[in-house]
Every structure is written in C-alpha cells, then in structure tokens.
C-alpha cells in the first residue's frame, strides 16, 4: 500500500470550475449534453468563456505558445493547487518544498483540433498556389502551431503555475486507461522517492471531425443523450462525448522537504494493464490494484462508457472481484472526456469519500439485467462510508483495444494520527 495522498483536485467541466460543482450537479441528476451541434453526437461541452489565462508577464509572454488545451490544463492545475492550500501565483513560496522534488504528468491524446479551421482553407488555397507545399505551409501556418500541439508542452505551462521543476512527462493516448496510466506513472515517481509531489493533469479539448469519425468506427459513439442512454442501461447505445480538464495533486504523506500536507484521500494503489483483450486487462488491473490496497472496496466508481460491449466487459471483469458494492459512473452526466475522464472520476471519487455519498448514474433508467447485477446508484446520492475505499476503473475505447486501469482511494478521517489531523496539529 502506498504512502501517497491526494491533496488537491481541480476540474474544468461543463458544470464550470471546480470538483464540487460537478459533483453536486451529478448528485442532482443533471446531464450536460447539447444535441444542437453540427454532428450527430451530443457533446457535454465546456463553456470556453469560463476559463481564463493567468495574469503577469511570463504568462502574457508565453500565451502565443498556448492552445485551448493549455488554457484548460492550467486552469485545472490552479484549482487543484488552491484546494491544496498553495497559491498558484506564488509557485516558489519557500514553505512548499523543494521545486526540484515536484513534477508534472500529463494525460493527453492526439485527437485535438489544433488547426481544424486553418488547414482546410490552406489546402484549398494550395490547389492554385504556385508555391511548393512546404513553402506555403512555412509562410501561412500560424507561428508556433507545431509547438502548441506537443503534449508535454502543456506540462511546461502547468509547471509554470506549480513551480514544480523536477520533471515533466506526458502519458499519451488510450483514453481512460491512459488517464489512469498517468496516475500510475506519478505514483511510481513518488513511491521510488524521486519526487515528493506530482501534479497529474488530464485534458480533453474538442476533437477533430476525423478523429471522431475514427472513434465512431472503432466503437460507435452515442447519438442520443436522453434517459435510457446512460451507462449500464439496457438501452445504452454508445459512449457520449465529453470535454474537460482535471488535475489531481499527489504528495508523499510525509515529505522530506516540507511539513506533512493535508490529505483529502489516500491513494492506495493504481495499476494499468495491457492484456489479450479489454475484459482481461480490466480484470487483471483490478486484481492487482485490490491486492496492493488490501482488499475489496466499499464503492466502485466505474468507467461505464455506455457502450453495450464495454459495459458488459467491465462488469464481467470487476463484479466478481468487488461483490455487492454501490456503483456509479460519470459518463451519463458529462460524457467520455477521453484521457481526462479518469482524472475527473478520481476527483469526483475523492469528493464522494469526503462527503460520504455516492452520486447517481446519469441517464440510467433501466439497469441492464445482463450485466450481472451491479448495484448501480440511481435517483439520488447514496450514503457510503467516508472512511471506506473507492475503486475507480478506466478502459480504452474501441472494440479491439486491450488497455485498462484501476485505482483505489482510501478515505481520511481527520482523527488523530490521520494525515488530515497531522497537518492541523502542526498548525
């Protein structure tokens, strides 16, 4: 079992900024899908007007290198820092530990629509343009576009606001399994003693039409966001699309370079596995995570993509290992935000442990009897033990994929000896 704690979470979602508004919206049974877009797939979209860019010279100077994903990633990071009691505008505060002992792990994909409005127009222009193609692109593509599209570039912006200069790496692709892969990588950085704290940030900006078409072929995307189309419903018809960013700040419970931080939850284990198929990978990841965390969980925050196949595979792999525990999924509320979704679910699960309540599955009307009887939360939030443990699962998208991950969180009490209390005793 690891000695790593969660000290802050931040979410940029269709519910606005912060983990709490999203959790509350989910608890209230809200869904955020908009079916009025140009594509056949409803999307739970982030209101771009809610996200700003930090003030100050270095931020203004470097804004030219930032794309929409960078804006969202930085915002989520700053929210997580604030929850952890850190001032994102003063990243080098001396009481917050050695900057070289902090790091960043990004969870990102390559499906963003960086130049979706630019390249088709340039391509049309190129048909009559005498310039060689490379010359045309050299002269016409907006400056810094290439750099803006580099995944770990987002991480450098995150490092600017955290002040963490120990390392920066992106875990790339594989949808929710990739998000858990980023958390697993961060956990290893902490367990190895190389770093004392790591901010893990996932970001899922709008995808290009080509990427969505490809996703849809891999495993059909849902076209209706109405009751009955949510995860685990017998009439579910494919994952619904989401967007967002989420940040989870992980710290060693007893860092060598700073006072013990205040814990929101304990991160007991996180595993990702590639196996012969998605169901096998899910089963193996859950088995490994539960073995490391010490037993069955008290609740299960499922991936619950809403795909007929994926939900069946997930339930068949997980239920035999967890037994009768309450289950929820966020996908009926805010959709599948690709690599970011596992980070969002982790933030929401932390909030559930803090509140001692598990919010219901959005758009779930009739639980599918063929799934083996998951105890899905419906209607209103259900009380769960705040001191319990939460299993979070995440899988890749696509019928031919074979990646999955599992993470186990433990609640904290604030009682003497607990990480929460330790911080308060020090103060």
């Amino acid at each position: 079992m690891s000695e790593v704690i969660v000290t802050g979470t931040g979410v940029v979602s269709p519910a606005g900024l912060g983990t709490e508004p999203l959790w509350s919206a989910m608890a209230a049974g809200r869904s955020f899908f908009d079916s009025d877009g140009p594509l056949p797939w409803p999307v739970a979209a982030v209101d771009r007007g809610t996200v700003g860019w930090p003030p100050g010279k270095p931020w203004v100077d470097n804004r030219k290198y930032a794309n929409l994903a960078a804006y969202w990633a930085v915002e989520a990071a700053r929210l997580a820092l604030r929850q952890a009691g850190r001032d994102p505008d003063a990243p080098d505060h001396p009481g917050w530990g050695d900057p070289e002992r902090g790091g960043t792990v990004m969870a990102v994909g390559s499906t963003g629509d960086e130049l979706g409005d630019v390249m088709p127009r340039l391509a049309g222009m190129a048909l009559d343009d005498p310039r060689p193609l490379a010359t045309l692109l050299y002269e016409e593509v907006p400056d810094y576009s290439y750099i803006r599209g580099i995944p770990s570039q987002l991480g450098q912006f995150v490092c600017m606001t955290t002040g963490f200069r120990g390392s920066n790496v992106a875990a790339y692709g594989e949808v929710a399994a990739g998000g858990l892969g980023a958390l697993a990588l961060a956990l290893r950085l902490l367990e190895s003693g190389e770093l004392e704290r790591v901010l893990v940030v996932g970001v899922a900006p709008p995808s290009s039409v080509t990427a969505l078409a490809s996703f849809d072929r891999d495993e059909p995307i849902g076209t209706e966001a109405v009751p009955g189309r949510g995860p685990f419903d017998e009439d579910r018809a494919g994952p619904l699309l989401g967007q967002g960013a989420a940040a989870v700040l992980l710290e060693r419970a007893a860092p060598a370079d700073a006072p013990a931080p205040r814990a929101l939850a304990r991160l007991l284990a996180c595993e990702t596995v590639v196996a012969a198929d998605r169901a096998s990978a899910t089963g193996l990841a859950v088995r490994a995570a539960l073995r490391r965390s010490g037993g069955r969980p008290d609740l299960w925050w499922a991936h619950g993509s809403g795909s007929q196949t994926a939900d069946r595979e997930e339930c068949s792999a997980v239920l035999p290992q967890v037994g009768a525990v309450p289950v929820t999924s966020s996908k009926g509320t805010l959709g599948l935000a690709t690599e970011c979704s596992a980070l969002i679910d982790t933030a929401l699960a932390v909030e559930s442990l803090r509140r001692g309540q598990l919010p219901p599955v959005g758009l779930l009307r009739r639980p599918d009897p063929r799934l083996g009887g998951p105890d899905t939360v419906t209607g209103t939030a259900r009380p769960v033990p705040g001191l319990g443990t939460a299993l979070i699962t995440g899988v890749d998208h696509g019928r031919g994929t074979a990646s999955a991950g599992a993470l186990v969180l433990g609640g904290v009490t604030g009682a003497p000896g607990d990480h929460h209390a330790r911080r308060e005793e020090e103060q």
Binding site: G37, P38, L39, P58, N62, Y65, G103, G109, S110, T111, P120, R121, A123, G124, A126, L127, P132, L133, A134, T135, L137, Y138, V141, D143, S145, Y146, I147, I150, S152, Q153, Q156, C159, G163, G166, S167, N168, V169, A170, A171, Y172, G173, L185, R188, L189, S192, E194, V209, T210, A211, L212, S214, D218, V273, V274, A275, A276, L284, G398, T401, A402
Partner: protein, 436 residues
C-alpha cells in the same frame, strides 16, 4: 554488479546509418553519414531543411515487407522491427513467464496522413479539393468521411502494446510517454523505475519517430531550428563545429530489453551490454525552446551523483549534440561547469553528426551507441566536426578513440524545457562483439 542492478540485455535499431545494431555501430566507427538531400519534396523555398536523415529505400522496403501490415502504421512497423531485434539479442524467443512485463514506449504522431511526404501531399490535395467542394462545415465533412477508409493514424490508435503482450505471453504494465526530445532517456528511466520497484523483472523500451512531411519540415523551418548548410548534405549536422547552423531531423527507432541482473542470470544471460546507473530529469519554466546551461548542468550532476560517482569517474560523454548554435554551446558550457579542466581531455561523441536528430528515438538509439562504447572500448568519432568551435572547446575526434571505458554520461534535451541525463556503466562481463 549486484542482483539488483538493471542491465541492458537486448538492443535493436533502425537508423539512417544501419538497420541492425552491428551495421549501425560499424557506420558510427567509419563515420558514414545517413544524412542526404531530401528529394522527396520541394523544400527550396524554406530558409533551411533541405537535408534529412532518411532510412534508405531498400531498408525501408525490407522492413515494411517483414514487419509491416495492412493496418499497421509505419511507426508501429518500426517498433516491431526494433523490438524483434532487441528480444532476439536478449535471447527471448518466446513467452517469458512471470506475472507481467514492462513496456515503456513512444511513437511520435506524424499527423493523420502518416509519416511520408508523398502521402501528406495526397492528403493535402484531397483536403483542398474537399474544401473547395463542400467547405469546412463539420456535418458535411463527416458525411464526406463516411465510407472512406480512415488511416490508422486518424485516431493515433496502436495495436503495438497488445501485440507485444501476446508475443511475450504475459500482460504488460505499459506506458506510452512523450517528453519531446528527451523522451528516449525518459522512457528508459520509467522502465528502470518499474524494475527497481519490483513491479516487473523484464521491461522493453521502444521508440520510433518518422514524421518527415512537408508540414513538419515547414514548422521546424519556422523555428529556424534546421541546418542551413549548403555543401555536402552529409556534413549538414556538425555538432560542436563552428560552422554548425542547425539540426537535421531524421527517422529512426530503437529498442532495449532491460531486466534485473538476477533475472538475466536466471535465464543464463551473464554477458550484458550495460548497467543503468542514475539519471537526472528536470523541467525549465523560463523558456519554451531555448536550453539553459544551469539546467543541463543540474541534470548531469544529478545523474552522476545518483550513480554514486563523481565527475572524475565519467570516462566519456555521449552528447545531445544537435548541431544547433544554441544547444551545442549550452551543452558545452555545462560540460565545462561539471568537468572543469577535465573537459579538455574528456572524449565527447555526438551520434547525430551521422544520423541526424530523431527526437525521442535519439535517446534510445544513442544509448545503444553508449552501451557499445562500454562493451567494445571505442568512442565513435564526430567526423563532421572538422573545425571545432573554440567557444565550445569540447574534445571530439575525427577517428574512433579506442580505450577502456567504464562509464558513459548520456544527455538528451528537448523543447518545452525538457532535460535528461543518464549514466551507464560497463558490466563485469560485457557482451562481446559477434563474429562477422
């Protein structure tokens, strides 16, 4: 060497100068360049970037025929090729047993049309024709895409991890990582971490990069990062030479098999390529692209200290050496800070002088060179550094330097403030060169 040491037991490469480890090494020692004029596309209007490190056509054809497949991207094809070599070199021919193996891999996404300029040209023309015909309305574009074949690159999906899991007969704890041009060393560090934490006993590192398209060249051109050398293309990449004018991007791939010494011994493998020492990783937040002397110094010092060594223990440096004005002077100044007066006698090699720069793949490919330096006792020359820059004042050689080498310091840096440095040690029983 202890049972806990992490050793390199298998290596594989595909590079512009060799598609096997031995061919690659032979070319390194012979100073044979793989940098050629990029004739597959018209680059005449760019202020730079007419040369590229390209995998020769006959090699490309052979690799594609043996490791390619109808739905397999060229990047994945390269990964399979180098992993096949590395596993064979490690003596792993079937299921490896155990509960799981590790995989840390990277494949730079070349864009939705794939790795080749001819495909990009077709893609761009079709995109233009579509734009003329139907505009850019998402719904109309989506309708247009129906019933069309979408390349595997469209969603950047890769079956490589699951295919490798099948081949090794165990589940994989796998991470696909990206850390710009330090991504190769970063991948090695993550694999070693898996091994040192006891999560696995064998781990594969594999990185492939192939993205020489008009778009990528044009964007590196915008950054003024590419060589402007107008002489013999083979001299376009000239690390630490006073005439250097930029880097040459290449396509390449590399793979390593890493395992605990104890696991290797249980398999009967006692002769290994190298022992992985410590590393230093860092991110700089003061500039997006420009390297900083202090950061380079920091990661080198961390790597040396983490290996239980002092700068005096380092026998040679396998430099990042990109051939850009700023990188090489920055790296050189940092070497002077770390090694002081020893710098004048410290042999430095720069593999990119012959191969060009393969981004994340370079870290793995150059680690192969570092391992062979340890095992064979030869430091490759930097044959394009014929007029050493006195401002850099590092010791490169135009001919191979033969002498025992116990330790190599390997550097890799990248855009986005990425810095990595790693130490490799000679094993007690180095793998001897094969009889050819």
């Amino acid at each position: 060497m202890t049972d806990d040491d992490i050793v390199i037991t298998g290596m594989g490469v595909v590079t512009p100068i060799g598609a096997t480890v031995e061919d690659f090494w032979e070319a390194n020692l012979a100073g044979r360049s793989g940098v050629v004029a990029e004739t597959r596309m018209d680059l005449g209007g760019l202020p730079c970037g007419w040369a590229a490190g390209l995998i020769p056509d006959d090699v490309r054809k052979e690799v594609a025929e043996r490791w390619g497949g109808p739905d397999r991207t060229w990047g994945d094809t390269l990964l399979h090729c180098v992993v096949d070599q590395a596993l064979g070199d490690a003596g792993i021919t079937g299921p490896i047993g155990g509960e799981a193996a590790g995989l840390v891999w990277s494949r730079v996404w070349p864009g939705p049309s794939g790795s080749f300029p001819q495909d990009y040209a077709v893609h761009f023309r079709e995109l233009g024709e579509r734009y003329r015909r139907i505009g850019n309305d998402p719904a109309v574009v989506l309708e247009n895409l129906r019933n069309r074949r979408l390349s595997a690159e469209a969603s950047d999906h890769s079956a490589f991890p699951v295919e490798l899991a099948g081949r090794l007969g165990v589940p994989l704890i796998a991470s696909r990582v990206e850390a710009t041009c330090s991504g190769g060393l970063r991948s090695i560090a993550e694999a070693v971490r898996l091994l040192r934490l006891g999560r696995v006993e064998v781990a594969v590192v594999a990185v492939s990069v192939s993205r020489n398209t008009q778009y990528v060249l044009s964007q590196y051109g915008q950054l003024m990062a590419l060589s402007r050398w107008k002489g013999d293309p083979a001299h376009s990449s000239m690390p630490f030479d006073r005439r250097r004018s930029g880097m040459v991007i290449n396509e390449s791939a590399g793979a390593l098999v890493l395992e605990t010494a104890a696991h290797a011994a249980r398999r009967g493998v006692t002769e290994t390529h190298a022992v992985v020492g410590g590393w230093g990783l860092a991110v700089d937040t003061t500039h997006i692209t420009a390297p900083q002397v202090g950061m380079v110094e920091r990661v080198m010092r961390t790597a040396i200290a983490g290996s239980g060594l002092t700068p005096d223990d380092i026998d040679t440096v396998n430099a990042h050496g990109t051939s850009t004005k700023l990188n090489d002077i920055t790296e050189a100044r940092a070497l002077h800070r770390v090694f002081g007066e020893r710098t004048a006698e410290l042999d430095v090699c720069a593999v990119k002088s012959l191969t060009g720069h393969g981004s994340a793949a370079s870290g793995v490919v150059e680690t192969v060179a570092a391992a062979l330096t340890l095992g064979r006792g030869v430091i490759p020359p930097v044959v394009t550094c014929t007029e050493p820059d006195p401002a850099c004042a590092v010791k490169t050689s135009l001919t191979p330097v033969e002498r025992p080498v116990s330790t190599v310091l390997k550097n890799s840096f990248g855009f986005g403030g990425q810095y990595a440095s790693m130490v490799f040690r000679r094993p007690e029983r180095p793998r001897p060169a094969p009889v050819r």
